[in-house]
């Protein structure tokens, strides 16, 4: 029994290491000087340095990384909160009254399977007309489209799982539609909404293609900004700096995932115990 458990822990450590290997390797590289990277490509660091991060955040540097981060934050928040706001009432109507289950629901959910590149050029033309190009709002709106399928799916399923009697009780208590939705159903959907928010935020933050296409200067998100540091074809890539900016770009969603994980995990196990 002891040995089996020991082996299990070893396998676990190994799996964790292999799954996270690229992250670990990049993290280590980000603490190496250029000289050390070319001399010592291994996983140990002889002279750790923060110089790469200093370069990334250098206020006099070529790019304003804080602005990229701010853009990503704003756009990702719009792209996460908006779908929740739009999908929650619709999800209730779908789950409880079957509204739009024939067309709207499948159409919206199937968006997930569609490569959204398809809409790139027409969207570009439309954004230009509306003055949405290179704005955080514009980027946020398209990120919202990206997140709608998962938001709608999760919220619809969640509402369907809620005990219907609670809503009947609320109707007996004289709750209006708005009260019912926002005072009764919404609070009970909170774990699901947190889940949607976290998944959505991570997806929005990590989105690359639309950031590349629809922003130029004012609204460039960090994933695209990071690729600026990865410029190729010209003066040479500084691999250490590139590694550092990748880590900076990956840090917010990873931290969010790690911190909020407990929250999700708690609600999951809670649900399981209740059966």
């Amino acid at each position: 029994m002891r040995i089996a458990s020991l082996i299990r822990w070893i396998v676990f450590a190994l799996a964790a290491f292999i799954l996270n290997f690229p992250v670990i390797a990049t993290l280590i590289t980000s603490f190496k000087s250029n000289a050390e990277i070319s001399r010592n490509p291994g996983l140990c660091i002889r002279e750790p340095t923060l110089a790469n991060y200093a370069t990334v955040f250098d206020p006099a540097g070529r790019f304003d990384v804080w602005q990229f981060l701010g853009n990503s934050l704003t756009a990702a928040l719009i792209g996460t909160i908006l779908p929740i706001a739009l999908c929650f009432p619709a999800a209730w109507a779908m789950a409880r009254r079957g509204v739009g289950m024939n067309v709207l629901f499948p159409a919206a959910v199937n968006l997930r399977a569609l490569p959204l590149i398809v809409f790139a050029i027409p969207l570009y033309l439309m954004y230009q007309t509306l003055g949405l190009l290179d704005t955080k709002l514009g980027l946020g709106l398209i990120l919202a489209v990206v997140n709608i399928p998962i938001a709608l799916l999760i919220l619809t399923n969640t509402v369907r799982e809620l005990p219907y009697e609670l809503e009947e009780a609320a109707r007996m208590d004289g709750a209006s539609m708005a009260t019912l939705l926002f005072r009764i159903v919404l609070p009970m959907c909170r774990p699901a909404i947190v889940t949607v928010f976290i998944f959505g935020f991570i997806t929005a933050w990590n989105e690359f293609l639309f950031g590349l296409m629809l922003t130029t200067r004012d609204a460039v998100p960090i994933t695209v900004g990071a690729s600026f540091f990865f410029a190729s074809g010209g003066g040479g890539v500084q691999w250490g700096v590139a590694a550092a900016i990748i880590m900076v770009s990956a840090a917010p969603p990873v931290l969010l995932g790690l911190v909020m994980y407990r929250h999700i995990g708690g609600s999951m196990t809670g649900g399981a115990v209740k059966g």
Binding site: N34, S38, G131, L137, T216, R217, D218, G234, G236
Partner: protein, 439 residues
């Protein structure tokens, strides 16, 4: 949606949005390299001038190199006015010309750049841009290793044996500046451990073979030295030629023999530089833009001191380097065309060109201009020299579809190198595609 509603929505939305920067003259430059640094430097000078009005000051804009041309094309085609002045390159002029306005250069321009360089920014007889940088290829090599090879009799014997085995004739090592492509191949093999276990380096060279258009430009100079061209005078596609076959087969032979890293099929500029600066590669053909990265003590601590460069190797038809210019031109939808024109005109003066060169750019200069920068930038002297002596542009490489042709070649040629198709298949596919694109 009626027009009025549309306007209302647009107004409402723009009111919602962050205040758009009141751009003066917005310039979209080539990011990430010495070109960017140089552009920043001259912009500072320009903006400090007394006679430049506040609303004509220049603001710079950069985005990623990854997909740069794709995005620029989409922006231009959609009629973007996010920038007044944008980057253009010799091989993309044809593609971008419909969305740009020809410009007038300063009177000094001809004396500063010379006709050859100015012509890299011309399309159908009109001047579309100010040439800022000249891009070509150098042969970068490890002078220490080359000297050692030239002075060691045992090494020469090994060299002869290797060249006999792989190239059919016993050869003697020659200095890099006198190399033919055959010598290049023999030297690359000699310095590869898979061929010569005693080699001081793991690989003789590093070829950039990723399926990417820029890599095709690096490759072109090899077949060109054997007389390759895209079209003959009558407009027939001539890619299926002995010259291309020789070049393609040489790459393949080197790759299969292990003279270039196993993963070269996924290598582009940064990977190749990283390989070279690790000290495990004896030589490579690379863009002149890599000079700084390969010879800087900071970026190449192990090899900077012993790295030298010459023009690419020679062949039966001569010595060639693929050449193209980068420049800046005027967007048709510019919001401030007059301010942009003024800036572009100034950019073509000697004052600007010298400042640009001094700040790290790589303009092709002649006359008094090159004399003025010769001390600060000795590497620019051979650049101009190389450009006029060895520079070439393939017949058809400034057409609207030049980029697509490079894409196509990249697709087919890498397929041959990667063993997913035969040489004949690759060439006939390239020929068919090119015929379509060059119509």
């Amino acid at each position: 949606m009626t027009f009025r509603k549309k306007m209302l929505t647009a107004t409402a939305l723009s009111a919602l949005m962050a205040t758009a920067a009141q751009a003066e003259v917005t310039v979209l430059g080539w990011p990430g390299g010495p070109e960017e640094e140089a552009l920043r430097a001259v912009t500072e000078i320009y903006n400090a001038k007394d006679d430049v009005a506040e609303e004509n000051k220049v603001e710079l804009l950069f985005f990623s190199r990854d997909g740069f041309f794709d995005k620029l094309q989409a922006d231009l085609a959609a009629g973007s006015d996010a920038f007044d002045v944008n980057l253009l390159a010799t091989y993309s002029i044809g593609r971008y010309a419909p969305y740009m306005e020809p410009i007038t250069l300063s009177g000094e321009a001809e004396g500063v750049f010379g006709d050859t360089v100015l012509s890299t920014m011309q399309f159908e007889g009109a001047q579309y841009g100010v040439p800022t940088d000249l891009s070509m290829h150098f042969l970068f090599f490890r002078s220490d290793l080359m000297e050692e090879l030239m002075g060691d009799e045992d090494a020469k014997a090994t060299y002869a044996a290797i060249s006999e085995e792989y190239l059919g004739t016993a050869m003697e090592p020659v200095a890099p500046d006198e190399m033919t492509w055959e010598d290049f191949a023999a030297t690359a093999l000699y310095f590869s451990r898979s061929v010569n276990p005693d080699s001081p380096t793991r690989y003789g060279t590093v070829l950039q073979m990723k399926n990417l258009l820029f890599n095709m430009m690096v490759f072109q100079s090899l077949p060109r030295a054997y007389g390759a061209d895209w079209m003959d005078a009558d407009g027939n596609i001539t890619v299926d030629s002995e010259a291309y076959r020789t070049g393609l087969e040489m790459y393949k032979m080197l790759y299969d023999a292990g003279a270039t890293p196993t993963d070269s099929l996924s290598y582009e500029f940064p990977e190749a530089n990283a390989a070279f600066t690790s000290g495990q590669v004896a030589m490579m053909v690379q863009w002149n833009g890599a000079s700084g990265a390969l010879t800087g003590a900071e970026s190449a601590p192990m090899t900077a001191d012993v790295t030298d460069s010459v023009a690419p190797p020679t062949g039966p038809e001569g010595r060639f380097t693929h050449i193209h210019g980068l420049g800046l031109g005027l967007n048709k939808n510019a919001q401030n065309p007059d301010g942009a024109k003024a800036f572009l005109e100034w950019l073509s003066t000697e004052e600007a060109a010298v400042a640009y060169a001094t700040a790290g750019g790589a303009p092709g200069l002649t006359g008094t201009a090159i004399e003025a920068v010769a001390e600060a930038r000795p590497d620019l002297v051979p650049l101009g020299e190389f450009a006029s002596n060895y520079g070439y542009v393939m017949n058809g490489a400034t057409g609207a579809n030049a980029l697509s042709i490079y894409e196509l070649q990249a697709q087919e040629f890498t397929g041959y190198w990667g063993d997913t198709q035969s040489l004949d298949e690759a060439l006939s596919a390239a020929e068919a595609g090119m015929a379509d694109l060059l119509k």
